[in-house]
């Protein structure tokens, strides 16, 4: 059964369509990733699921409860991590959890029992009495996640939970999110990191201009939309190589001084390139980033 179900959701701000006929669903123990350029409508979708933005059309149901009409009941079972940290700067880590728990009307004993468990979960036991200003970026994000778990939610809405973190902090966050999935929680996640999307998400929704432009498993999407291999050529001579050997690839893309050859059979291309001196090349399997760029384009968006 889907914990969150969105059907034909649309929202306009003024004349511009921010979310356009979007449908999605998330089941227990499943992670659905929304990826898309800035302004694709990911955050607005999450805010509509929280009853903070009124949809122009479409239906949202969480746990079978209609949103926004019964959003208060639904929110008792939802945890949220927003893009920007909104921790209380005057409270310690433990106090942040305690005060946030009070907004759910939870009994004191329940909150007190959960605080040490959540501090442990977020690897912040040693920081129980530290204020957010004393925490690193990764610790702050983990405290935000712990805070989102204070009501023991069944559904988590995570808006770019690892943006701005170093690799160690990101890996720790991923590990924790995987634990939550194993516990059977449902996660709706937005991210700009394709490795994160590939690692965490069972299914992906690629969004652009408010629309869903592709949907499927990470591997399935790559197989469906891309050639199996990529050969990148950098620097001087790259453009000339593209002109000369382009016919050996299914697709050729340029980005500045770099050329991307997309191909199913890489051998002939690699041999041809090896005959040329001084070319820097990289041969790798096609990945989600290639998919993302193919579907949403390489150009920088106005608002990015």
């Amino acid at each position: 059964m889907s914990l969150l179900r969105v059907e034909h959701l649309s929202k306009k701000f003024g004349n511009s369509s921010v979310v356009d006929d979007l449908s999605l669903h998330v089941k227990a123990g499943e992670c659905l990733g929304m990826i898309g350029p800035n302004g694709a409508g990911k955050t607005t979708t999450i805010r509509m699921c929280l009853g903070l933005v009124a949809p122009d059309a479409g239906r949202i149901e969480a746990f079978g409860l209609p949103i926004p009409r019964q959003v208060r009941d639904a929110k008792n079972r939802i945890g949220v991590v927003t893009q920007l940290d909104s921790l209380d700067p005057d409270f310690s880590c433990a106090e942040n959890l305690r005060v946030y728990g009070s907004y759910f009307g939870l009994p004191k004993e329940t909150i007190e029992a959960r605080i040490p468990r959540l501090l442990e979960f977020s690897a912040l036991q040693a920081k129980a009495h530290a204020k957010p200003s004393e925490l690193s970026g990764g610790m702050k994000r983990r405290l935000s996640l712990a805070r989102a778990l204070i009501n023991d939610p069944d559904l988590l809405l995570l808006d770019e939970p690892t943006t701005g973190l170093d690799p160690q902090a990101r890996h720790l966050m991923w590990e924790r999110l995987q634990q939550l999935l194993q516990q059977g929680k449902a996660i709706l996640l937005t991210t700009h990191f394709m490795d994160e999307a590939e690692r965490l998400c069972d299914r992906l929704l690629v969004m652009d201009n408010g629309r869903s432009i592709a949907e499927g498993t990470p591997r399935g999407l790559i197989a469906e939309h891309l050639e199996s291999d990529v050969v990148e050529v950098y620097g001087e001579g790259a453009r000339a190589a593209a002109d000369r050997h382009g016919h050996l690839a299914q697709r050729v893309e340029h980005s500045g001084e770099t050329v991307f050859f997309y191909l199913c059979e890489p051998r002939p291309m690699l041999q041809a390139l090896a005959e040329q001196d001084g070319l820097r090349t990289l041969h790798r399997p096609a990945n989600l980033e290639d998919l993302f760029l193919k579907l949403t384009g390489r150009q920088i968006r106005d608002d990015a």
């Binding site: 009853g51 903070l52 959003v71 208060r72 929110k75 209380d88 005060v99």
Partner: protein, 261 residues
Amino acid sequence: MLIPIYAAPRVSLRFWPVLLRNWLVWRKLAGPSVIGNIAEPLITLVAFGYGLGSLVGQVQDLPYIEFLASGSVAVSAALAATFEALYSAYSRMQVQRTWDSIMNAPVALDDIVFAEMLWAALKALLSVSAIIVVIFLLGISREPTMLLALPVLGFVGITFASIALVFNAVAQGYDFFTYYFTLVMTPMTFLSGVYFPIEQMPGWLQQLAYVLPLTAAVELVRPLIIGHWPPRVLQPMALLASYAAGGYFIALVLTRRRFFG
């Protein structure tokens, strides 16, 4: 929960944890703030009350220091509530994103605005309590009716918090609040009979003074501080209530528009 912008206020009991949150933060920082709350009126009362008072003599049959002290209590309540509902509420709303994080929990914007209004009034009450202690300790007044002034001062806090939240709802930065203090609160303080009787002013200014909420506050609070029953109760109460109700509703509508409009 998405509420029509112009709907009547919808408050649930979830306002309580929000109020409590503000109280918990205040308690952490209370030491310095209590010292400030006592030092500021103490300095004003000693400097103006005794210094200027010795030149002025009696005002409305009162020693100047009693006239001044009894009026300043009302001003302090108004200023404390205003300050809290502007600078502090704005920090929580915009800078710290506290309101956003609370709204991700099952608490509505209407609950938050109600809690902020009530908290600003409570903060005003905490601050004037300190001043009343100073007035008592200096022996300016030791009338038991001073205690009756406290609920009235709480109501003054509610009124000024509600008005200030209107400006909080449309603020784009802290600078805006400086204008509010300079162009609204400071002139109002001089027009409301705190430092000198309203009757000293030209007739047209008196007309203006009588519709100001601070004049109503002074009219109620001054007699209670010096040990009398206010000559008029209903009219000034009604004036404060209209400002409170009108201000609160406008503040709520504008805040909803800010978040959901």
